[in-house]
Assembly symmetry: C3
Homo-oligomer: 442 residues x 3
């Protein structure tokens, strides 16, 4: 466990995993995803190269709570050609150019007829916006505002070679089985096209996290869900309602490759274990941690935290969504996400896992006055280095508060020390016979 | 409901009601009131021109808890004449000149004999102070300090043509009956003479509030009490002790015509519904809201919040009493109170009433995941104007927290949105069948 | 009770007691104390000149919880002589020069052989550090770093004429019996040699406090414990385990003669009466009060607050230990502690005692509306001086909150007034028949 300051030089392991995540993000970046269709399938295929993914297909029209699984979207090409036959907007250059889930169109029209179908960002005139129209049938294009201004009057051939037809909604799941059926859920949306941070970063990070867990013995089981935003999470919840009570902790993961934050948005309940764990990790992670209360808008925590489920699921990000200029634009590209940030994000999530796995309650077997640490060699290091003093202090904290009411995280919080330092102290005290695992687990 | 920023240009209705309140305040301003006597009767007569006031007369000597109803004070005239027969102090110019509840005197005396009976404000030398002596038998005059300094040596004829005799204590009540016997109490003191803010403003505002309620269907009943400070409230409580449990919320109203604050002093309990409602209203009212904890000194909240009653009654003011230079001086005149401030104060109180009337608990009928707002036309405005986005967000808040545990005010507070926006969202959701009134009311 | 600002000119009584405490601290300062041995006995002898001290001797080897009473340390002399026979380090000049609890040594060795046995403070090169080695058998010397640098190469005769042998651990107790068997514990460590603030100040202050209580009638009993740090408190707790439940409040006292702080470190529980009382006293004491949460390191609060006891015992100091440059050095001498600081510390502790003794719950006998203070002569002073207004306000607070749920300290805290002002108001209200002692004590 190495929380470490974000700004610190990172361990080589850390850099290495960051580079692997970046490589996978880069691999899936060009794919044109939407809430349904082959883009999702192709992306799941890339993830499946790393982990034994279970891919589910749910037919169009399936009722999922208040919603219906929508038609499947297929897109082959899209462009706007000027009178000289030149593609002034070309889907092949960037899949952001097409209004995501656009209905097909093939027509020639004047610039003024075309304009209502074009979306730009006048305040960021060189960027292409990302726009969708899932539930209103529309066609459209997105482009840089400056490019729009440069369009000459005249007629244009517009083509969106897409198809909306009955098919399936696709999502992928991976389950790592631990000792318990109790689960930790990690969920990332897979519906955005070429946006690197949002959410190639999350998909790639979780894939590597699942890969690392593979073969390890863990206390908890771990479920990884790669599903389209909103409708995907709703579909999963509708199909797995009976299973939901096993989810004891959870995180929605997105935008984990930029250098901002880190940001944690609490679960609806606000005081669950995952809220406490993530607050602890972020407080000790360096950077500029931002811990915010739940609000019913954002990513799929909206669904997990709907009142009928009210699950202990928070949202982990680096920069908070919708607060940075690259968000939902063509500037959210592969340069915007960096291996060191992906590595640091990965480590924060790993630290949270370590706490969830290791947190328990111990009992001080010599609770009346302090036990004599010196004759057990546990105090030797006090006079010495700073780390030695911190280790001794951690032991005093663990001894004093292992009274049957405080678990290790409680103690770490009260001591304002990192969980791993407290957990290591507990381990040493157990070895020396001063502490025992409390029968009733934390 | 239009809370609106105090500093914003106000609606014409708002200005209009402010002008009506100011006119009534101006009508009662010249009357010389005290804790008993014809000044109170005459004032109640002016209010009765607007509402069907019930005037009560309680005989001198009546025991009311630890107190006795005092004698009735009648004053005809008061002056100090110099040796040339000129009235250097004249009650007819300002009723503040006479020490309120002064015993009669008619004598000639030297300036040095007179001086111990004269009250001035050396730090505000041009203002006449307001002073009383209810429970010690004294006579006296109040005047500008500069005027006192200008008095020549010599003899003066002093006259207070007053009478203290058995009679009555007078107060007025108005009850608007709602569906419930549960009441909201509004109370204003009627004992101060020519002080505009303190409390012609409160008397006039409550009169117009009662008038507006007249004929309206309301959930609560509304009681308006216009009674002399301290002894009046004590008398009312003593005579209505059995009725007191019906008071569910209450406000003491004074100094609501100046441009300060707004100020809310919480009830003794500090966490009652009226405390939460007024805090909400003030936080969204603009200006410089000041929300202060209860302390056992001030206006009649002292009596309502005595430990034997401990009623949920707070104090609403603009500037907090005893903190502004005009307080209890001749500068608290009709120029000091302004229609726009009276109108804004009125609107704040009305907003509080709206919340108390409309606050209830709803139940989300589609609590598992979000319902699909789009196909119901409830999301249409999201991409559009700012208000539309706020309305959609309000719906998400109402849906997420209408779980049987949160009422609309809880949700408004958690969302940090105005109550009316939340209430309107709830209304739309009820119309669309996504929400129902929770059987157990908030 | 005279909390008064620390910075204010102090009463003559205050100065006088400060001087008496300083004189006793000066008397015991030169004695070479350790965790066992004649230094402790001689010190207790000096305290016994003031109070009827009960001195206990506990044999070496006695098991006390996880510890054993150690051997007794006797020291006659210690020095380092240079080749010219000159004592370059001399125990007779300062007992800090010898590593406390040092094993005996008598040998001649080169400077380089000697150096590993010498402790200095390179950052404070003119000060002698205070160092101990209780649980590792070592010999050594402490000296100014500049003096070490000045030592010439060559051979030195080193001598610690000490003895470690079976004997006793010694501590002293004094019990003032009050009406109740419930006790307030005051505990000061007696094991440090010539350090004035740490803890000649605490020993001398508590001795004079015990002396002042002698012959007084008190509600509580008061126990004073003068014992070696850690092992002494552990020994006392082990021998008095059955008695421990009588300890209702307690303070560990050390470093009370310097001009810093005042500092209060809360008990482990953090919300006990002594925590509230000390917080109140410090908030009203002037200076720069520092109220800190419990942590399991420091003085004997570590033992009293071990989880098996979890007693309501805090630590009172002026400057917090280990935060000031004189701490554990030869600069902690008789000039560092001053009569005015000792007097102020004494008064703060006395104020705490006054609150613990006087705090109780009263009941307002006229709880419905305010009683008429005026006709009882209780309001006379309102219009008058500032103190009179404060006294009247204190009465209103006491009346309003003496509802069977708030004791005087609760009321003082809520009113943000000094406890003594509130207590005096309660006394006057009891005299006037408006208040009575609540049967169920606070």
């Amino acid at each position: 466990m190495s929380q470490g300051s974000i700004s610190e030089a990172q361990s080589s392991e850390h850099i290495e995993i960051g580079e692997e995540i970046h490589a996978l993000a880069a691999r899936i970046f060009p794919i044109c995803r939407s809430i349904t269709g082959n883009g999702v399938r192709e992306t799941l295929g890339c993830l499946a190269a790393h982990i034994a993914l279970d891919v589910q297909e749910v037919p169009t029209g399936t009722q999922v709570f208040d919603w219906e699984v929508p038609r499947e979207w297929t897109i082959e090409d899209a462009y706007i050609k000027n009178e000289r036959g030149h593609r002034v907007v070309d889907f092949r250059a960037s899949n952001l150019h097409v209004l995501n889930y656009s209905v097909p169109v093939h027509a020639t029209m004047s610039l003024s007829e075309l304009k209502p179908h074009i979306f730009t960002l006048p305040d960021q005139p060189d960027l292409i916006p990302y726009r969708t129209s899932y539930y209103a049938e529309r066609w459209g294009f997105c482009m840089a505002h400056n490019q729009l201004l440069a369009l000459e009057e005249g007629h244009y051939e517009v083509c969106v070679d897409s198809r909306l037809a009955d098919g399936h909604l696709t999502y992928g799941e991976y389950l790592h089985r631990g000792e318990a059926v109790d689960e930790i859920l990690f969920s990332a949306h897979i519906c955005h096209p070429s946006l690197a941070d949002d959410n190639c970063s999350g998909l790639a990070l979780l894939t590597h996290l699942a890969k690392r867990l593979n073969g390890r013995r863990t206390r908890y089981s771990y479920r990884f869900l790669f599903a389209p935003g909103t409708i995907g999470a709703i579909t999963w919840l509708a199909r797995n309602e009976a299973h939901v009570p096993h989810i004891k902790h959870g995180l929605v993961i997105s935008c984990v490759g930029d250098g901002g934050g880190p940001t944690y948005k609490k679960s609806r309940r606000g005081d669950t274990m995952i809220d406490r764990v993530m607050s602890h990790v972020l407080r000790h992670a360096g950077g500029e941690p931002k811990i915010i209360d739940f609000f019913p808008y954002g990513y799929d925590e909206r669904q997990y935290c709907s009142p009928g489920f009210d699950l202990p699921v928070g949202l982990f990000q680096r920069s908070q969504f919708a607060t940075f200029p690259e968000y939902h634009t063509s500037a959210d590209n592969l340069d915007f996400i960096r291996p060191e940030h992906l590595g640091a994000s990965y480590e924060m999530i790993w630290d949270a896992i370590e706490i969830l796995e290791k947190n328990r309650r111990f009992r001080n077997l010599a609770p009346k006055c302090e036990p004599q640490l010196g004759r057990r060699g546990l105090y030797a290091s006090v006079g010495g280095d700073k780390d030695g003093a911190a280790r001794a202090m951690a032991m005093l904290w663990v001894l004093n508060f292992s009274d049957g009411r405080h678990n290790l995280l409680d103690i770490a919080e009260r001591a304002d020390m990192r969980f791993d330092v407290i957990a290591e102290a507990a381990e040493r005290l157990v070895e020396s016979g001063l502490l025992e695992d409390d029968a009733i687990s934390a």
